[in-house]
Amino acid sequence: MEVMIGKFARRWRRWLTIVLTTAVLPVFSATGDNDAQRVSQIKAAIVLNVARFVTWPSDQGLGRDQMRLCFYRVNILSGAEHTITQNPVAGHAVDTRTIQGIDPADQCDVVLIPGSQVQRFVGESTITGDRPFLTIADLTAADKVNRAYRGVHVNLVRRGNGVGLEINLDDVDRAGLRMSSKLLKLARIVGGDAE
């Protein structure tokens, strides 16, 4: 199955520029609290939408009624809690938690990693191994990353005036997650050379 997905990904590997509409652009041009909150809401919506194209293994993760979105060490979606809690994913209400490290006890389903904490997370992830939760790294600070980080499944990268997606399909497979081909059609597949 993984081979098939890989072939599918390679065949359709291309960059799809995700235009986050005009609402995304102000994320980077807006100033003040309102703009920061709006960017947080857009990011929250993207994170949740990505989560909606992911399937967790049935025996791990999302075995509860709620989906848990964890902020790795820094909550980068402050001010968008309302957006998160009011938009359930796959029928699951979403709650948030800020974690300091990878701890299974936190029962995180999605871990949002700030760009500044990616290296730290990679280091910790190398120790803890693959876990069945979705990891999304906010790398929108850089125009283009085009690389895979060990343990990071999805990179949110900047694509012109929009936000692009890079997916480390190998790590996704190792984590036991499944990603919809619809999402893969929009994303750039990275991996194989993860650091």
Partner: protein, 695 residues
């Protein structure tokens, strides 16, 4: 109406089969077409909907991440769908997010339609929601043109029409074949029926081809034929019988017509010509005599005392007598003569081309002789005589009516002269005939009104001249005609058949009067009453006499009945038994007018007689004719030898009286000693004689 225009079950069946087949095909094709139309539209909508669902599903990520490029790429993937006009992907705010437009000619919706499918002008659209994680994040509208669908419909319609026409052709062929199969039994049945109609042969039978309802019909038809055959045979039999009856009836009617015709011109009883035929023949004969000259004769014939025979022996005997007499008459005549029965005992004979009156006389004698021979009918030996009157044309009349009437008159003259004879008509007969007719009517009135009276002539014992009896003699005095002689009265009554009635009246009246003379005591004298010979034809004569004796109380042994010789003459019926019955009543029998007619001594000896009265014609010869005296003497002797008393009647002279007394005649009667006198006078004389005796 010609054959082609006649209603045909073949055409009807063909029409029904075609109608059914074509109707079924049409309905099938119509249903198929409609269903195909609906199905095709549904399929097209479903296919379009499926495409919309796929595209919508493929567009969900693009919408979720606002990837217009990806959305356009997804929509552009529809370019291979030739029937699609365009597609519009709307975002969650119902704003067009991506558009695919194949042809600018077609308009696309700029906002999502409210229905899942429908028409936009001539285009079909479907709308499919774009759902992500249970939430609609947009919608997709696909618009398709209808040309393709219309072309498909036309193709389908043409296909259906082709199939319909082909099926219709097949139905026509199949219907023709089925028609032949289905109608063959019926046609065979029809052919058989026509053959039977033409030939009238009900022995034919229809062939049973099938085992279905038609086969059942054939069985019923054949059974019907069998019934018809039976009825036909019965009908033929009845017809034959009817024809026989009609033939028989026709024959009967013909015979009846002939019989009626015969009866119209013939006498029903004897088969002789009737009066009408006789009149015709007489008229014709007179015409011929007038034209060619010559004479013809008419003989009017009447059987004497036939009425007495009819009344006493019955009509059956009388009828047989008439038939037998007619046969005898016919045997005496030529074929050219006409014999007719005019009615009752009256016959008429027409003799044509008679040379002289003697010829008619010869025929009359033959007829009288023929009827004089005894008739043996139903055990009776009847002695009959006939009286004949003859008239000659043209000397005795100028027409048929006169000739026949005059012959009738002459016939009555024969009767008046003693019957059993013929008489030629003379002009003087008409006067006598007229008087006779007048007297006959008066006689009938006198009988009904009892206008007769009785006179009594005393009878004396010869030696003592003492009255020993009286003879009752009828007297008839008419206001116009005066006193009518007893001879004429008796003859008339005899001819009219009234003599028996008069005889009974005389007998009963005399019995009553004589008893009255003696105060209803037993009379010391004998009452003599004349009895007509006609009385003896009746078998109950003794009962009649007994009845009178019983009614009057007159003693039978004081009564003497006088009969004439002709009662027991050679042509008379046997009266012996009747006389014996009368004799048993105590009544004595005497022969009146003895010697006047034919007498048989042997017959006299056999009869129960007590007295013999010598006819006055013999008494009248006494003193004049020695032979007559010898006859009287012989009669007295003979009578005494037969133990009969002798009475000499018609004693008018003393010489006559002395002669009979000298020869021991027992009693005398005549004007010399006592004329007939009324009953009161007779009663007074008897009273005086009784006084003298007492003195």
């Amino acid at each position: 109406m010609n054959q082609a225009a006649k209603p045909s079950i073949q055409r009807m069946l063909m029409f029904v089969l075609l109608l059914n087949g074509s109707s079924a095909l049409f309905l099938t094709a119509l249903a198929y077409g409609v269903n195909d139309w609906i199905a095709m539209r549904g399929a097209m909508t479903d296919r379009l909907m499926s495409q919309a669902d796929i595209v919508a599903n493929n567009s969900v990520a693009a919408l979720a991440f606002h990837d217009v490029e990806a959305a356009n790429m997804t929509l552009n993937s529809l370019e291979n769908e030739s029937e699609l006009v365009g597609a519009v992907l709307f975002d969650v705010a119902d704003r067009p997010f991506a558009i695919y437009h194949r042809n600018e000619h077609y308009a696309l919706p700029m906002e999502p339609p409210s229905d899942a499918s429908g028409f936009l002008g001539d285009q079909l659209f479907v709308s499919s929601p774009v759902v992500l994680d249970g939430r609609q994040v947009g919608s997709l509208v696909l618009v398709s043109e209808l040309d393709y669908w219309d072309r498909q419909q036309m193709i389908q319609l043409a296909t259906v029409a082709g199939v319909f026409l082909f099926s219709l052709l097949w139905v026509v062929i199949l219907a023709g074949y089925l028609r032949r199969i289905m109608l063959r039994p019926i046609l065979e049945l029809t052919a058989t029926a026509k053959q039977i109609t033409r030939s009238g042969d009900f022995q034919l039978r229809a062939e049973k081809i099938s085992q279905d309802e038609i086969g059942g019909l054939v069985d019923d038809f054949n059974e019907m034929l069998r019934q018809i055959q039976l009825r036909d045979e019965a009908l033929l039999k009845v017809q034959s019988e009817l024809e026989d009856k009609v033939e028989e009836r026709t024959r009967e009617l013909t015979e009846l017509a002939q019989e009626l015709e015969r009866q119209a011109y013939h006498d029903a009883l004897t088969g002789l010509a009737n009066r009408a035929t006789f009149d015709d023949h007489l008229q014709l004969a007179i015409h011929q005599a007038q034209r060619y000259g010559g004479e013809l004769s008419v003989l009017f014939l009447d059987l004497d005392r036939f009425k007495n025979i009819n009344d006493t022996l019955g009509h059956a005997v009388g009828d047989k007598l008439l038939i037998e007499a007619s046969h005898r008459f016919q045997a005496c005549l030529r074929s050219s003569d006409t014999l007719a029965r005019l009615g009752g005992d009256e016959f008429a004979v027409l003799l044509v081309q008679t040379g002289s009156p003697n010829d008619a006389a010869d025929v009359a004698r033959k007829l009288i002789a023929a009827v004089n021979a005894p008739f043996s009918i139903d055990g009776y030996f009847l002695h009959v005589s006939a009286s004949v009157g003859i008239s000659i044309y043209p000397s005795d009349g100028a027409d048929a009516q006169s000739i026949l009437k005059n012959a009738d008159t002459a016939m009555y003259h024969s009767k008046s002269n003693g019957r059993n004879q013929y008489t030629f008509f003379t002009e003087s007969m008409n006067l006598r005939a007229t008087r006779r007719l007048l007297l006959e009517n008066k006689l009938r009135t006198a009988i009904d009104e009892k206008l007769f009276t009785l006179h009594y002539q005393p009878r004396f014992e010869t030696q003592s001249k003492r009255i020993i009896g009286v003879e009752a003699l009828i007297r008839w005095s008419d206001k116009e005609e005066g006193t009518i002689s007893p001879i004429e009265l008796i003859a008339l009554a005899d001819e009219c058949g009234l003599i028996t009635t008069i005889d009974e009246w005389v007998l009963e009246t005399a019995c009553r009067e004589v008893l009255r003379w003696y105060d209803n005591q037993r009379p010391p004298i004998v009452l003599s009453v004349n009895l007509s010979g006609a009385q003896f034809i009746r078998r109950n004569l003794s009962q009649v006499i007994q009845s009178i004796l019983r009614r009057t109380g007159f003693p039978g042994d004081c009564l003497e009945l006088e009969i004439t010789e002709n009662v027991f003459g050679p042509n008379a019926v046997d009266v012996t038994a009747v006389l014996r019955e009368i004799r048993e009543l105590g009544v004595e029998i005497s022969i009146d007018d003895f010697g006047k007619d034919y007498s048989s001594l042997s017959r006299l000896k056999q009869l129960p007689l007590q007295t013999l009265k010598i006819d006055k014609s013999f008494i009248r010869d006494i003193g004049k004719d020695p032979d007559g005296e010898i006859l009287v003497k012989t009669m007295i002797t003979m009578a005494h030898s037969l133990n009969l008393r002798v009475v000499a009647e018609g004693i008018e002279k003393e010489e006559q009286y002395r002669f009979v007394r000298r020869h021991h005649c027992d009693a005398v009667q005549g004007y010399l000693l006592g004329r007939p006198m009324p009953d009161t006078v007779m009663q007074e004389r008897l009273r005086q004689e009784l006084v003298v005796d007492l003195d």
